[in-house]
């Protein structure tokens, strides 16, 4: 039970460190020793110890300095500073710098044994909580989607039911709700799981590029097409293609897509040979396709083709019970990835997370946990670590990135708007609230092409 905890004893005096190490080993801990601060840091660089016994006075790096260095790597390392030169001052310094305890040698066996026992008890408890939480999140998770919300649980059931069908699925949900995770869950719980899952973001690419991305192209079909290239539909043969942001595709591509969904075949760009594929399509969108159909920007026949099975993912604010679960699951994964020893979220921090509106949904929560984790100074994420959420709230949800130039912002906004309107100047200008000549001026100024 105790054996998995490791202790490092650091003292320049051999008899001192060896005898303490032997004494602690009798308790069942695996104990290592280091003769200097430098050696201790080298050992702490390759593994984390449950407790560090550090002699205060050592040649080279002293105990407090060693502790501070260790803390940089292991934020919640338990450090016991040992000293024979007991003065109130050094004791206070050590405590201020974050030493868990301060012992004056020689001290009674009872004192040391109680101290070690207490620290290990806390460590055991933390580890148990972690294991418990992992079990809990496993219990509430389905292919990486974590939820105990009734609507989400219904979605899990629906995914299981439709996983092995060939029907097209349309996933609706705001940005960051995890539409791709749902698509993956469908793919990996169905009979195509051993075949490829290919994701394409339709919003990211211009029309011609997207076309060749989806269907591939023949050599020399356009400038830069030096080789024949397989498209995503070919790559996904036998498996699933996930078409994200389907609402953003151009009228021409809508026709091509409809064809491939109906005929299960297509032509590569610049090619005359018909390519047959067996692909299940899952599409996703954050815009209201029905409105787009009504407005004439989205083909109704394609809409009905896609809308065979619809999954509507609720926004995070409608499934608040998932916030603690998700936050902890992100924390467990990210702390591991970032090599941070943080495994708790304080009560007040959780309350803050529960109260937040989360316009960016699950992805925003994930980003928030990552951001808090990066700056966290203790082993618990506190309200202060999430302070940026409150800042965002007081400034109407808009947070200016560091060193941002106004010209840059204008340029980006204009480019994004033009992309959305497929280069339609009139539409873009009206959407931006400026007249066409102003828009042309700006485009010239920022060297933007339609």
């Amino acid at each position: 039970m105790r054996k998995h905890w490791e202790i490092l004893v650091v003292d320049d005096e051999p008899v001192m460190r060896e005898s303490l190490a032997e004494w602690l080993a009798e308790d069942g801990y695996s104990v290592e020793t280091a003769a200097s601060g430098q050696e201790a840091l080298a050992k702490a660089a390759v593994r984390d110890y449950a407790i560090y016994f550090l002699d205060l006075k050592m040649p080279g790096i002293d105990g407090i300095e060693t502790m501070l260095e260790i803390r940089k790597r292991h934020a919640d390392a338990s450090v016991i500073i040992m000293t024979a030169y007991a003065t109130v001052d050094t004791a206070i310094t050590a405590m201020k710098e974050g030493a868990q305890e301060y012992v004056v040698k020689p001290c009674s066996p009872e004192e040391i044994s109680l101290l070690v026992e207490r620290i290990i008890k806390v460590k055991n408890l933390q580890r148990e909580n972690l294991i418990l939480r992992k079990k809990l999140s496993k219990h509430y998770s389905f292919h990486d989607i974590v939820s105990k919300n009734p609507k989400m649980v219904e979605i899990f059931d629906l995914i299981r039911d439709i996983a092995s069908l060939r029907s097209t699925v349309l996933i609706l949900g705001g940005s960051g709700t995890g539409k791709e995770l749902v698509a993956r869950a469908i793919h990996y719980s169905g009979n195509r799981a051993d075949k490829p899952f290919v994701a394409v973001s339709c919003a990211a690419l211009a029309e011609t590029l997207l076309e060749s991305e989806l269907f591939g192209h023949e050599k020399g079909s356009f400038t830069g097409a030096n080789d024949r290239k397989r498209g995503k539909f070919e790559m996904a043969d036998g498996g699933t293609i996930f078409l994200d942001e389907i609402g953003d595709i151009s009228p021409k591509l809508q026709v091509d897509l409809l064809r491939v969904l109906q005929e299960r075949s297509f032509f590569r760009v610049g090619g005359g040979e018909e390519v047959k594929v067996d692909v299940r399509a899952i599409a996703a969108t954050r815009v209201n396709l029905q409105e787009a159909v009504a407005a004439g920007t989205f083909r109704d026949d394609l809409f009905y083709r896609l809308n065979v099975i619809t999954i509507q993912i609720p926004p995070l604010r409608d499934r608040r019970e998932d916030i603690p679960l998700l936050a902890h699951s992100f924390l467990d994964r990210l702390s591991h990835e970032l090599g941070k020893d943080v495994h708790e979220i304080s009560e007040s921090a959780l309350k803050l997370l529960l109260d937040h509106e989360w316009p960016g949904n699950v992805r925003e929560l994930e980003n928030a946990v990552e951001r808090a984790l990066v700056t966290a100074r203790t082993h618990v994420l506190t309200e202060e670590d999430f302070g940026f959420l409150q800042q965002a709230k007081t400034s109407n949800g808009w947070v200016a990135p560091d060193n941002v130039l106004l010209d840059d912002v204008q340029r980006q906004v204009i480019m994004a708007t033009l992309r959305r309107t497929n280069g339609n100047i009139k539409e873009a200008a009206s959407s931006l609230g400026i007249d066409r000549s102003t828009l042309y001026d700006r485009m010239k100024k920022y060297a933007i092409e339609r």
Binding site: M1, V15, M16, S19, W23, D27, G28, K105, S113
Partner: protein, 185 residues
């Protein structure tokens, strides 16, 4: 047959040593052999503390261990310590060949109390089994009655029994089996 050697280092009460020998022999099922007394460990004396370093006594003992002795128990009347701690009742090498035991703090007289010889011998038995238990690889046990429980004061020492709990007895049997078959080879 495997042997546990027993020796006095400096002054050590004869009756306590003889009793420890009996306890070790019956509990571990091995022959014990009394070695001639080791010299008084002056080298281990710390004048500032008026105590003897158990680590240094142990090191010296290792050099004097007969080749055929599986374990060696050194007993002394001197009060012993390790630098970090104000005192220790004994010190053993975990999974190693030697252990040292001090009689000094096992006597009621040490604390200004009237002598109680029977109680003293019972403590000797507990500590002797405990330290040699370490030499066979046993670590501290959470069973409050088990002799492998850590005792950092007399109260804890007196509370526990002079026996190994079931778990420790099992571990001990395995350890003895491996170490004695190893010794024959």
């Amino acid at each position: 047959m495997a042997v546990i050697a027993v020796a006095a280092a400096g002054p050590a009460e004869e009756e306590a040593i003889a009793y420890a020998e009996v306890c070790l022999s019956t509990t571990f099922g091995m022959e014990t052999r009394r070695l001639g007394p080791f010299p008084d460990p002056e080298y281990a004396y710390d004048a500032a503390r008026n105590q003897y370093s158990s680590t240094l006594v142990l090191r010296e003992a290792l050099d004097r261990r007969p080749a055929d002795a599986l374990k060696l128990m050194v007993i002394t009347d001197h009060d012993i310590f390790i630098p970090m701690l104000s005192f220790v009742y004994g010190q053993a090498q975990l999974n190693g060949p030697a252990a040292v035991l001090s009689l000094s703090r096992l006597r009621q007289e040490f604390y200004g109390l009237p002598p109680n010889h029977a109680l003293f011998l019972l403590r000797v038995r507990k500590e002797a089994l405990h330290e040699i238990g370490h030499c066979f690889g046993l670590t501290h046990c959470s069973d409050p009655l088990c002799t492998m429980r850590l005792s950092t004061n007399l109260q804890l020492l007196d509370e526990k029994q002079a026996e190994f709990c079931g778990d420790c007895a099992t571990l001990l049997r395995d350890a003895i089996n491996t170490s004695t078959t190893g010794a024959i080879k």
